[in-house]
Amino acid sequence: MSDLLRSYLTIAIFSGAAIFMAGMMLGIARVLRPRHPNREKLIAYESGVDPVGGEWVQSQVRYYIFAVLFVLFDVEAVFLFPWAVRLETYGGFGLVEMIVFIGILALGLAYAWRKGVLRWS
């Protein structure tokens, strides 16, 4: 067996152990716990509030645009934080690079704004 495959053996053992542990805990709990299902227990959990409608609700398609914009700026943050920590060592070069990066992203936001994506109605 090659070294590569041998190192996958570790992963296989680890996955097996994980499945065994989780299965054992759930299995024992199932044997031990009392079971008294009633209507309240079976309805969808909605943070303690009485649920409105079924589980398969349609969500507003407009959230999708906000989700895309959110991902955009989330990724920006991922780059910004490590850069900010090391800004002193990167010096002027790092500053210019990040300004270019943020500038392009800001242009994307300006575009979205201008096209009325940020307006709800």
Binding site: L4, V85, R86, F93
Partner: protein, 498 residues
């Protein structure tokens, strides 16, 4: 210990801006288009195709200065190379992109489409292709592939109101993502086995005299098959006709020429650099793909009634011819590499030309049926003559460009000097004859048949389409009469470390 001490001192990476200038110019053009769109969409509407066109021509300038300079440059830890091969292909992408912009202008203006986004997305896709031409590393190649593919998925669905266009976009997207996933899996296996993502390092690690282990075979196959989707090789061609038919015609031209060329550029780097020591895996794979692609593409093209679908299947068959040199990659070496580059250049011009005539005719007849070309010669002799040149060139009739393209592929197959090469040469010969069947049918419609609805008002050819048609016409004829021009580009590009 402080964080800075762990990470070590930072040294500013040396960036060769001259080598990156084509990409920077193109990126600048994209940004200018978006800025103009943000400032005042309506006022700059007519101005934006001009910006796109000049952006592409502007990006060609540093390509030329780099070619004059002539030194091979390597950037970003050998992940990105600017050598003759990259420059020839970059120039091809930029010129093809320029022709596509020319044939897009009227179509996009007259239809009810988003205009400014169209050009910025098309330029983004071309930027990905420029990166692809230089990528010498699995990761760089994958990033380039996604950058060129994702805008193309959106462009395929550009006719928002049309169900066919939506189908085109979705099919292209799903198949493209599936191919990317397969390819990534293959790349992860190749990386695992070779310990590097760099092509030359992979070559040194994978090459050897022994039989390849099964895992290596699977890794190489998956990477190559991912690109086989991109170039619509049979049996991975099923998305192509539907996507080509549904997408707006200029986008179809873009996909059939530039996007396909990008796939071949990637295959060139993989087959002739990264996997060059594994011809026992690569050659049989491409032998099967090339034979199937040529034959099945041609047979299906014979049955098409729609001109764009016919050109789509003809494009599949042409891809088959381009796959032939890969099947003799080691046996013929540099000759095979040159054959692919030469075929790519000539194919780009003749196919773009055929699409620009299709666009011009569709503006009058509003139909994509082959029967709507009946009697084209009687009311639009110029277009009919140009279309005849392009179709004859695609069929490989001397003295047009397509003849030389077929010839170099044929020579590469015979240069291998073995049975498999000889069989391929026979398949090429048979398919060249077969292909004339459907190209000839369109010619017969144009020259011999009557006009279907008797409407003989001349076709109004817009200046931009006329320019695109004449550019491609001149190139198609010049490459056939003076094949040494294009052969020189082929020679330049093959000065790899073969």
């Amino acid at each position: 210990m402080t964080l800075a001490a762990v990470l070590g001192a930072f040294s500013r990476p040396a960036v060769d801006w001259h080598a990156l200038a084509p990409e920077v110019v193109l990126l600048g053009a994209i940004l200018v288009i978006i800025i103009l769109d943000v400032i005042d969409e309506e006022r700059f509407r007519t101005f934006i195709p001009t910006v796109a066109g000049f952006g592409l021509l502007g990006a060609l300038v540093p390509v030329l200065t780099l070619a004059v300079d002539g030194t091979d440059r390597s950037l970003f830890g050998d992940a990105y190379a600017v050598d003759n091969a990259a420059l020839v292909l970059k120039a091809l992408f930029l010129i093809a992109g320029y022709v596509v912009v020319l044939i897009s202008i009227d179509y996009i203006r007259d239809g009810d489409y988003y205009e400014n986004e169209y050009y910025s997305l098309m330029l983004s896709s071309l930027l990905g292709m420029l990166l692809m031409a230089s990528a010498r590393d699995l990761i760089a190649m994958f990033v380039a592939l996604e950058l060129l593919s994702i805008p193309a998925y959106m462009l395929a669905a550009w006719r928002k109101g049309s169900q066919k266009s939506n189908e085109a976009g979705i099919k292209y997207y799903l198949m493209g993502v599936f191919a990317s996933a397969v390819m990534l899996y293959g790349m992860s296996l190749v990386f695992g086995l070779s310990g590097s993502t760099n092509f030359t390092a992979i070559r040194d690690a994978l090459g050897g005299s022994g039989d390849p282990i099964p895992l290596m075979t699977i890794g190489i196959l998956f990477v190559l098959l991912g690109f086989a989707f991109k170039v619509s090789a049979v049996p991975f061609h099923t998305w192509a006709p539907d996507t080509y038919e549904g997408a707006p015609t200029p986008v179809t031209a873009f996909l059939a020429v530039a996007s396909k060329a990008a796939g071949f550029v990637a295959l060139l780097q993989l087959v002739f650099v990264a996997f060059v020591g594994r011809d026992d895996v690569v050659q049989p794979l491409f032998w099967i793909l090339a034979t199937l692609t040529m034959t099945i593409g041609n047979l299906l093209a014979l049955r098409q009634e729609n001109i764009v679908r016919m050109l789509a299947y003809s494009g599949v068959a042409q891809a088959g011819f381009m796959l032939v040199p890969f099947a003799v990659s080691t046996d013929s070496g540099a000759v095979a590499f040159q054959a692919v580059v030469i075929y790519l250049i000539i194919y780009a011009f003749m196919n773009l030309g055929a699409f620009s005539v299709v666009m011009a005719v569709a503006r009058k007849t509003g139909s994509g049926q082959i029967s709507s070309y009946g009697g084209l010669f009687s009311y639009a002799p110029g277009l009919a003559a140009a279309m005849t040149v392009f179709l004859s060139s695609l069929a490989g009739i001397p003295p047009l460009g397509g003849w030389f393209a077929k010839f170099v592929v044929f020579r590469a197959a015979l240069d291998a000097g073995n049975i498999s090469g000889a069989i391929l040469a026979v398949v090429i010969a048979v398919n060249s004859v077969l292909a004339f069947g459907y190209y000839g049918r369109v010619m017969k419609e144009m020259w011999m048949n009557p006009v279907p609805d008797g409407d003989e008002t001349p076709v109004r050819v817009t200046p931009s389409i006329a320019l695109a048609t004449s550019l491609t016409l001149v190139a198609t004829i010049a490459f056939g009469v003076f094949p040494q021009i294009v052969a020189r580009f082929g020679e330049l590009s093959s000065q790899l470390a073969l």
